[in-house]
Amino acid sequence: MAQFMLLLYGDPARWQKLSPEEMQKATEKYLAWVKKSVDAKRLSDDAGKVIHSHGGKPRVTDGPYSEAKEALGGYYTIEAANYDEAVQIALTHPQVEYGSTIVIRQVYGT
């Protein structure tokens, strides 16, 4: 089995529109998915740090990383035979239903 990383990008503003009831439903869906699968990691709430290198000189700045509205919210590692299977697994994630992005990358070495 190969390992894949699922990177979950989402726009936090999207969630703001949900009611408490809907947020609970969403949380339950996410939890149910994790229960099925995987080793989940969440990223901290701050914008993070970015290292840019200019002319060989690294410069560390605070995030955001880009102009994109969608921020990386968390990631999972899953096992799958190949990309096709990893995609099939990721497609069942509630993130898809809530209209956000999942990036899938194979991971080498364990």
Binding site: L18, S19, P20, E21, M23, Q24, Y30, K35, R42
Partner: protein, 422 residues
């Protein structure tokens, strides 16, 4: 905050109920002029739960976690925005103290119930128009958002949002407080609160289509608010009667439509589908409503619902008693809709012709001109009397009024009955 069944499991409606009590608590600490700040802190706490629980797992006490985080968010907001000036530190200290309350502590439970009650009483202040009181109660204590409120009342979302903004402005401008009114004013306010709760319930109950779930939640929330009062020192026989009425009616919700979503009339309902827990709750409060001298509208309505619930099968309700109760109800509150219901009881006791005579008086009532149920009941009587052409005419007029899809199907079925194939 309640004890959880298993780690990782959340009680049904935990977020919604927790949102209501946290908004009430934070509003008490921040002051009613800052309801929006309280709401934002609560929303933020739920957002954080959504962003971290899927990865870290559900905390042991989810309600307690939300409670603490919402308090911290409120403190952050307080410090960020300078509105409170020198008082910032003092208020932050109070919020911080409140956040340390132990979850599931009975004393805290009691305090939170008290916060919620004060909040509803403020939402029902006479300066706030009644429709806004309902919306504001649902938003603040009920944990509903604007979209859900709009959907529940089949109203426009922007208009609902506007209504809430105006109500909050009134709270600020008129400097309303969370102090409970006293004396005669308390009784008056309690009456308004009951009206608002009953209105909320009826809105949920009368709907047969559309956002069924949200509407069902309206009934549940109305019942919850009623129970909040009956379990407080404010309980009066009339509030017990209101709770009894709502519980007995809500018990019938599952039997009211069949699998196809078609209407099942009370007399054909499968009583096994009635919720026995709610029936029991209804009778419990009905009994407790008997302690006073004063007979309210809710007492009589609850007595009618109880008479239906007591009947062992559909044919056997004590119709003479029900008719007597309707007479009493009309002497308390003379409404044309009640008179229409009374006519049905008249037909059961004295025969269809008498029932028909009882509604003739309503024919020219402007309140009922576009009320499809008047025409439907009239048509039903005429059909029973074999006056098919007139019956068909009534059902056709009923179909021209505003009614729900299941009602439309029901009326069309009735119309077919008026025209039997040769």
């Amino acid at each position: 905050m309640s004890s959880e069944a298993e780690p990782g499991a959340m009680l049904e409606h935990l977020f919604r109920h927790q949102a209501g009590r946290m908004v009430a608590r934070l509003t008490r600490l921040l002051g009613p002029a800052y309801i929006t700040l309280a709401e934002e802190a609560v929303q933020e706490s739920m957002l954080r739960a959504l962003q971290s629980w899927p990865y870290q797992g559900v905390p042991e006490s989810p309600g307690g976690w939300l409670f603490r985080v919402a308090h911290n968010c409120a403190i952050d907001a307080l410090r960020r925005n300078k509105i409170f000036g020198d008082k910032t530190d003092a208020i932050a200290a109070e919020i911080s103290l409140s956040s340390k309350a132990l979850p599931a502590d009975p004393e805290l439970e009691e305090q939170l119930g008290d916060d919620e009650l004060r909040m509803i009483f403020m939402c029902c202040h006479p300066v706030i128009p009644p429709e806004s009181s309902v919306a504001l109660s649902l938003k603040t204590v009920g944990g509903f958002n604007v979209r859900e409120i709009a959907r529940a009342f089949l109203a426009d979302e922007a208009a609902t949002a506007q209504r809430l903004v105006r109500a909050k402005r009134l709270i600020r401008d008129k400097k309303l407080t969370l102090e409970m009114p006293r004396g005669a004013e308390l009784q008056q306010r309690l009456d308004t609160v009951c009206e608002v709760i009953y209105f909320m319930f009826n809105e949920g109950y009368s709907a047969l289509e559309g956002e069924a779930l949200v509407r069902h939640d309206l009934c549940q929330e109305a019942l919850r608010l009623g129970l909040l009062i009956t379990s407080s020192s404010l309980a009066t026989p009339a509030v017990h009667a209101l709770v009894a009425l709502m519980a007995l009616q809500a018990a019938r919700l599952p039997a009211r439509t069949d699998e196809a979503g078609d209407i099942v009339l009370l007399e054909s309902q499968d009583r096994d589908l009635w919720d026995p827990r709610l029936v029991a709750l209804g009778f419990h409060h009905f009994e407790r409503s008997m302690s006073g001298e004063h007979v309210s509208e809710y007492h009589v309505q609850a007595a009618i619902a109880a008479t239906h619930a007591r009947a062992s099968h559909a044919d056997s309700p004590d119709w003479p008693l029900i008719l007597h109760l309707y007479d009493e109800l009309i002497s308390i509150k003379n409404s044309s809709v009640i008179a229409l219901n009374r006519a049905v009881a008249v037909s059961k006791v004295h025969g269809t012709a008498e029932g028909l005579r009882a509604i003739e008086a309503l024919d020219h009532n402007p309140d009922l001109r576009n009320y499809h149920l008047l025409m439907a009941v009239r048509g039903h009587f005429l059909l029973q009397l074999g006056r098919l052409n007139e019956a068909a005419h009534c059902f056709r007029s009923a179909l021209r009024c505003r009614c729900s899809e299941p009602e439309r199907r029901f009326l069309q079925k009735k119309l077919v009955e008026c025209d039997p194939p040769e």
